[in-house]
Each structure stands twice: as structure tokens, then as C-alpha cells.
Amino acid sequence: MASSLIGRSVVRVDAVGKATGSAAYGVDVTFPGMLHAKVLRCGVPHARIVRLDTSKARGLRGVRVVLTGEDVPIRHGPIIKDRPVLALDKVRYAGELVAAVAADDEEAAQAAIDAIEVDYEELPGAFDMEAALRPDAPLVHDDASAYDRVEVPGLRVAPAAGSNLCYHFKLRKGNVDAAFSRADVVVEDTFTTPKIQYCHLEPQVAVAQVDPTGQITVWASTMSPHLLRNMIAELAGVPAAKVRVITLMVGGGYGSKVYLGALNPLAVLLAMRAPNRAVRLAFDREDEFLTNDVRLPTRTIIKTAAMRDGTLLARKATTFWDKGPYALLGPVIVRNAGYCSLGPYRLPNAWIDGYLVYTNNQSGGGFRGLGVPQVAWAGEQQIDRVARELNIDPLELRLRNALRDGDVSITGETVHAVSVRQCLEQAAQAIDWGKNRDAEGPHRYGKGIACIIKSTLTPSASFSTAKLNSDGSVDILTSAIEHGQGAHTVLSQIVADELSLPLDRVRVIVQDTSVTPFDRSSTSSRTTFHMGNALKEAALDVRHQLAKLAADVLEVHVDDLEFVDGTIRVRGVPQHAYRYADILTRAFGSPATIVGQGACFTKPIYDPMDPDTGQSKRPSVYFMYGAQAAEVRVDVETGHYRVTRLASAVDAGKAINPSNCVQQIEGAAVMGLGFATMEELVSVDGRTLNPTFLDYKIPTSLDMPEMLNRIVEVPHPEGPYGAKGIGESSIATTAAAVGNALYAALGIQVHDLPIRAERVFRAIRSAAGRGRS
């Protein structure tokens, strides 16, 4: 009897296709006679469009469609519909698009873009978050309250006219002021995080085609084909049934490629004006750096109160989030990161304000970790400062205050399946916490640790179908996207296991909204839990149907049957094993298909968050916990440091595929390392200076520390086999872990990311100047 597939590090189902280059991505989609589209960026961060003349462009060879905002005056957005498809009266960030063209070939499209004439009247811009909230600040939107809005459960979004405040998150628990008064130790600091870019190697791309009946088909590199379908239908003014979205392999998403974005509407609107010709719009790397979204920059002022014995009494955090000009997912990010910003601790008193501010900087979007990396940079470094003030080991301080099962969180939820302690202990053990290397010449060594809690998108829904084919193989019909996280493999393991089939008899086929049922999105580390549950149910549905058929055919009771190795046997009669295909043929007298369905939706358990207090008894169906410890070696004469070891301990709930979990844990840690040490999109007055890999550095093979990965398993009662989500925890802790390691080595805290050598150098110099070592 084959052993269970659950918990096995099987080779990924997409591995060979990717190793041979044959696995197709959105960029590979091509059709005969396909038109090529290009876009025109405005290049000015805040300006009125005085003149936009496309007449020369329209007359050029091979140019088929030219669009400006005037042609398509539509606004969209997942929460506030404030974003125009193409700029209307004014542009609000330097990457905003003002025109799009479709032409017979790329050269013609580029020539058309070059021939468009635009005159701008530059306006004063809002580039600093806090300045943007002052009454005299330039307004990004004259009246943001006038835009249509989408209701999101547990979210009160009410921007006011004449203000750049898009959204304000509040959480209030207990009495922080009283706690600050009676505490033994109170520390307060300000921390900032910069704009960083997704840098998924596959750019955004869509190929759209509209047929003579008005049916719109879009081949899109997206993490949410059904959401995209609905949004395209609304944009195009057609019923959703008229729109079909098909997604192949996605070359990285990390939170990009989720909603309409800047690109998808243009591909569709151009195609609608070029009947029966496919239109391909792909961003190049510069478009990605300048027009796509970024991780929301932040400024956090955080204050923590503790007693001498290390008990945390209170934490108060005020975070300003730079939204850029369009709301996108901003309010959800600020809320979800907001209530996790004080860390996974027992806190009797808590106060959080999150201010989401419209600016003329690049638009902030959902980015792996969804705001937790930014707030953890602040909160987890402050824990170490408190530890130093109290002369308590930073690991010990965390363990003393870590949430445990049965504790009440700051939102008022009694938490379960908590694993903070286990993650901290595993990370600490992996890095030999407590053993520190001595100084060597100008080099100092230090270790630091950090931990986080993160929520998942709730409520949300995933539906799925499992189709047993006449040959006994199974097709998984899921809209879950494979963007590197290993979803297709894990989902295949689940279905194969439930149906007692070998893995190669189960396949994920397509992601096609006409065929595969609704899935909210492959984001928020939700796929294993939600789609895993849905598919488990779908597979069981097939199993039950097959059992009933077999019982009829074999004239036994259903309870007398067992499923073994792709066959059905009568208990006690192992020599008669019936292949599924045989049962089907015997039951129906012909090849046959059985379809099972499953769903996982969390609305019933969700308790919408109170907009004034941030209280909710169940804001997230599960929480993700992780801890990370870093060791650094720093050269005190230059400020340059290397992260020599990075130990990540992440709670998977249940590791359905352990090697897949390690891929995600380590992959997130490498992104976290980039955020901590080197990544920054530098802008001056809204204009970005480094939109290229030559000057925007991300980690390479040479930057890798020794990676020590630990999978913690504290099962979740509602997850498939106990599984939670693991893709985001170890990106959120890295910056603070590295910062804390430097703090241990040097006694100096860096407050602004990235932790550049020059910043460390200046901090060392000014500390020496103040007579401290």
C-alpha cells in the first residue's frame, strides 16, 4: 500500500516544464496577426494635461488604435474607484499613463508613442506623507469622497473632500496612557521604510481578443483570473459571461498582478477597438519600475512600556502609509498590517493609528507580507531596545510575552493554534543563540531575532472541481495560480491522496474562468488552506460517488469497500482489485466522467472589525507566525556588514510538501534580505532616479548567507491536514532581525531602511562622537 502523499517532498509537478523552458507564460502567448501595444508615460508627478495631440500618431504606418483618457473616461479600483484607465484631466504620479497604442509591429507602436504630443502644466505635488496631511498641502484628489466605492466587510473607508487622508485605521484596547505612566521603562522611536519594487522577472502582460459577438478573451499574467474577469466586465460594460480570462504559468507575482492594474484595462480596451485581432500589451522593465505599484513606504512612531520583570504593559504605534495617488488595496493593507503591528505578544493595552495618505508618489500596492514587513521593522527593533533597557536577553523578553493558546489578542480574539514560542525557539536554536563570536580586528559580530504575526484575507471564498476521467485519472479544475509558490503540486498531492492515486495520475490542467470555478486569488498565503480545503472536499465527493457506483456494480455495501493504489477492493478480498476505469465502464456501459465539487468560504466565521476600536473576535480565519534570527559581521571602520547566517522558523500548520515549504520560507527570506540591506527606489519630488537593475539592487547568489530553515508544525483545526499559509512570514522578520543583530554587535540602532553601509558608518561615528562605543 502506497504511503500517504501528505508530508512528502515530492518533485514539483511543474519542475520539468520549467527546466526545459517549455512551460508557457503569459509572455509566450502569440496569435497570427497579433497587434503590439505600447504605452506613453507622463513623466511628471503632478500636472494638468493642457494639450494632448495624437493626430500624428494616428496617421502612421501600421497604427490601428490610439487611446487617450478622453476615449475611455473610466475610473476603477478594488475599494475606491479613483484610478482612471488613462489620465483624464491631470496626472497624479510620474508613472501614470496618458495614452496607449496598438500597431502591426513593435516598431510601429513605438513610433506612434514617440509621435504623441503632450503639454503639461506642472502643479505643486504632495511628496511627503505628513506634509500631505497639512491643511495647505496640494490636493491629490479634490474630492475623493465623490468616487464610487466597493463595500469591504469590516472596513470603513470614508475619505473627505479637500483632504489627502484616504483612510484611517484605529485600534484601541485598555488604557495606554495609564500604562505608560506606571511602567518602569518607556521607549519611543521613529522608523521609516522606503519604496521597493516587486521585480518579478516576468513583466505584466495581457493578450486580449474580442470576437464579432463581443466575447472578450484575455490571456493574462494574473494571480486572480476571476477577480480580473469581473473587473474587466465592469470596465467594458458587459456581463461577466462575455469575458473569459485564461492564465498560464506566472513568472512571479509577490502581490503584483492582482487587480486591473494599469495594464489589463488597456489591453482589453484596445482590443475592443480592433475587432478580431489579438492585442498584446507587455510592460518592459522600465514600465515595471516606474508605472507598476510599489511596497507602501511608511513612517512609524512607536512607543512601548514594560515592567522591570520584562512584562510588556502597552504599545502605541502611529504609522503613516504613503499610498500614492490611487487607493488600490491600501485600506486593507493598513488595517491588516495595523492590527498586527504590535507583534505577536500579550498586550493588555494597545493603541494603533494607521494613516493612509494620498500623495503624488508612486502607487503602493499589496506586496508579499502586506505591510507586516514595514511595521515589524519598527516594532521588533523596539523590543530589542526595551530588552537592553531592562538588561534582559531579547529572545527571553519575547518568550515571556509571546502569545499562547487561549490568550486574548489586541483585537479581542481568543487565539488558538499559536506557535510564536516554537518559532522563536527553533530560530534561536538554529543560529546558536547565546554563543557570540569575539571581535576580530575591525570586525564585530552580533545576532538578532525577530518574530511576527500576520493575518490572511478574510472573508474569502474558493471553489473547485475534481473530474474523474474515464481512464481513472483525475483533472483538477482550479483557478489557483502557479506563480512559484508550488500550489499546483500541493493541490495535486491533496487530491491524489484523497483518491488513493499516484501523483502522476492527477493533473492541474488550466486556469480558465470559463472552466475553473471561482477562486478569490492566489495571494495572502491562502491557497493551500482555502483551495486545499475545497479540493479535499471535491476529491471526497468523487470518492463517495465512485464508492456508490462500485457498491452497486460489485453488489456490496459501501462500507465494505476500500480504496488502495488507484483501485477499489472489497475488504477481505484483496485479490479482486478494480481500477476506477473499470468501475466506470461497468456502471455506465461506456466511458464516463464523474465530477465532484468542493468549497471553502470563511464568511460564516468572520467577525467584521469595529472601525473605531479595531475589535473583532475573528478577523482572520488563521494567523501565520514566524521568527527569524540573523548573524552579522560588521566592519566598524566602514560600516559595511555581511549577514553571515539567517535562520527562519515558520509555522506551516502541516507541511504537506516540506521541500516546497523550504522553497517558500527561504525565498521569502531572500526577499526580506533585499528589503533589509539594499533595496530602495529613490525618488526626488516624485521622480524616480533608479528604474533599472543596474541601480536598484536585489540579492544575487553572492549575497546569500548560510540559510538555516525550520518548519514548525502547529496544526490549525480548520486547515487541510492542519495546514496554514507560509509564504510571507520570513519576508517580514528579516529587516528587524538584521537590525537587531547590528544592535547587538554595535549598540547602535538604525531607524531607516535599507540598512546601508553608509548609514551604519554615520551611526557609528555619531555614537563615538557622543562618547559611547
Partner: protein, 292 residues
């Protein structure tokens, strides 16, 4: 990103390239490896109606040691070829080392030594090495050939003294004593794979005189700090002929920090560059001169 259309000519010799550049002016650009030019063209930071290639000119990528002991490297020799050539590893291992540090292996296989020099980039790896080796370049123009020290090639930020119709032909590294000590430091604090913030190349000869060691000769090249690669003549003067000690090395490093004119960019401020010259000059000179 696509390229704007252009025509393409493969030159049979350098004279042909010079003539084409001379006749067509700024409508024509020279292309060697293309690793610098093609991105510039794609970003529309440069334009060309015709690309004039020197990549198939026989002899222009030669690597050989002449009868006078000087090393001749043709301008279209790739960094990869230079870093791996036995002749260079024996004659001037510093050059092999520096060329082996350019960007990454695939760029090294495409990019040329001549192209790198003519790009005029401050953080060029081969440039400080060639300066420290006392190398010269040979340039062909409509008026004929001229020769100059590598440190005299550079005029400003991404700017050389070459006219638009001159083509760099040859790089000549003089024969030197085998007893030379050398070192190339490529310091990249921002990320491991990056252009140098401090690219320091040192070639020195020492000799025993009584109980002490004396620095008989020294040349120091520096990239990444000033707007273009430079020779640290001030630091050299402190050390040339001096008895080697911690003190004299420290003074040389201070002089180096004083004589540089650092620029500021996204990588670092000018002040930090200056401070890092102070630190690394001391460390590298100490190492090369074997100061305790």
C-alpha cells in the same frame, strides 16, 4: 524594450571604421561588445542611424607579448579572454584579475577592454589596473595615431579625450620587473554584484635597505570615487623611495583621501567615498607593502 532601426556595417580594418565615423558624424556609432551601447540605445540615451562594428577586424583582439617585453592587448579582446589568457596572467596578473571582476561572467564574455575604456565609466575595473600598470593606449584618428597614458584618456563623467572619429586600437602594458607586488580591490558595499564604490589598484616594488624595507616604486589607480578613473599621484609621492612603515602608509592614505575629488550618486555620498578611500588605501597599501 526595442531598438530603433539602424543599418549595420562590419569593418574590415580600423581605418574603415575611422573613415565612417569621420564622414557621418553623430549619425554613426561604433560598436564593439555592445554591452554598454545596446542598453543606451534601448533607453534612447544614445541614437544611431548606422552601427559600425569593429568586432571582426583580424588582429584587433590579439593578446601577445612583443619582443620588447611589452604586453599588447587589442581593443576588442573581451574581459573574459583577458582574464584567462596565460600570457596576461604571467605578464600582468593584475590586469587579468581586474578584467575578471567586471560585472558578471556573461557580460565579461561579451564586453571588450577597449569598449570599457572608451565608455569612460568611473567604476571601470580594468581602468585603475591599467593606470597602476603604467599602461598606454594607441588611438587611430583621421590625422593618424596617437599614444597616451591610460590616466590621460579620461576627461570627465563618462567622457574621454577621444574625438568622435577616433578608434582605440591597442592597449600596451610595459615590461616590468617580475618582483612587482600588486593588488586589486573591488569594494561593493551596496550588494556583492555591483559596480565598485572603491576600485583600488596598486603596483609596487620594494627592496631591502639595511634593516628596513624601502618602497622603490609605486603606482596607484582608483576607480569609483572621482568622476573618472584617476591616478593617486599624491599618495604615490609619499611612498616613492620611502622607508616602509605604518606611519608612512597612514600618511599616504590621508594624502589619497585629500587628493580625491569624489562625486555623489545613489550608491554613496561624496564624503563617504572620501572616508572609504582613507580606510581602504591604508589597508590595501599595508597589505601590498607588507606592513605589520
Amino acid at each position: 524594450m526595442i531598438l530603433a532601426p539602424f543599418d549595420y556595417v562590419e569593418c574590415a580594418d580600423v581605418e574603415e571604421a575611422v573613415s565612417l565615423l569621420h564622414d557621418a558624424g553623430d549619425r554613426v556609432r561604433l560598436i564593439a561588445g555592445g554591452t554598454a551601447l545596446v542598453p543606451l540605445l534601448k533607453h534612447r540615451m544614445a541614437s544611431a542611424e548606422v552601427l559600425v562594428s569593429v568586432s571582426r577586424i583580424p588582429g584587433l583582439r590579439r593578446i601577445e607579448v612583443g619582443p620588447d617585453g611589452a604586453l599588447h592587448v587589442g581593443s576588442t579582446a573581451t574581459h573574459r579572454a583577458v582574464s584567462r589568457a596565460a600570457a596576461i596572467r604571467e605578464h600582468s596578473p593584475l590586469l587579468a584579475e581586474a578584467c575578471g571582476r567586471v560585472a558578471s561572467p556573461t557580460i565579461r564574455a561579451m564586453g571588450t577592454l577597449g569598449g570599457n575604456l572608451c565608455y569612460g565609466e568611473s567604476a571601470s575595473d580594468p581602468s585603475p589596473a591599467l593606470i597602476a600598470l603604467g599602461a598606454e593606449v594607441v588611438v587611430l584618428g583621421p590625422q593618424g595615431r596617437r599614444r597616451m597614458a591610460v590616466e590621460d584618456l579620461f576627461a570627465g563623467f563618462y567622457e574621454t579625450v577621444l574625438t568622435a572619429d577616433e578608434v582605440l586600437e591597442d592597449i600596451i602594458v610595459p615590461a616590468e620587473s617580475r618582483r612587482r607586488r600588486w593588488r586589486y580591490l573591488k569594494w561593493t558595499p551596496r550588494a556583492q554584484e555591483d559596480k565598485a564604490l572603491v576600485g583600488l589598484a596598486v603596483v609596487a616594488e620594494t627592496a631591502r635597505q639595511g634593516r628596513s624595507m624601502v618602497c622603490q616604486s609605486i603606482r596607484i589607480g582608483l576607480g569609483g570615487v572621482d568622476p573618472f578613473p584617476v591616478r593617486l599621484r599624491g599618495a604615490e609621492r609619499v611612498l616613492a623611495g620611502a622607508e616602509i612603515s605604518q606611519d608612512v602608509v597612514a600618511r599616504a592614505a590621508e594624502t589619497a583621501a585629500d587628493e580625491v575629488k569624489p562625486f555623489e550618486d545613489l550608491q554613496a555620498s561624496a564624503d563617504y567615498r572620501r572616508e572609504m578611500v582613507r580606510v581602504w588605501a591604508r589597508r590595501i597599501l599595508s597589505e601590498v607593502l607588507e606592513v605589520a
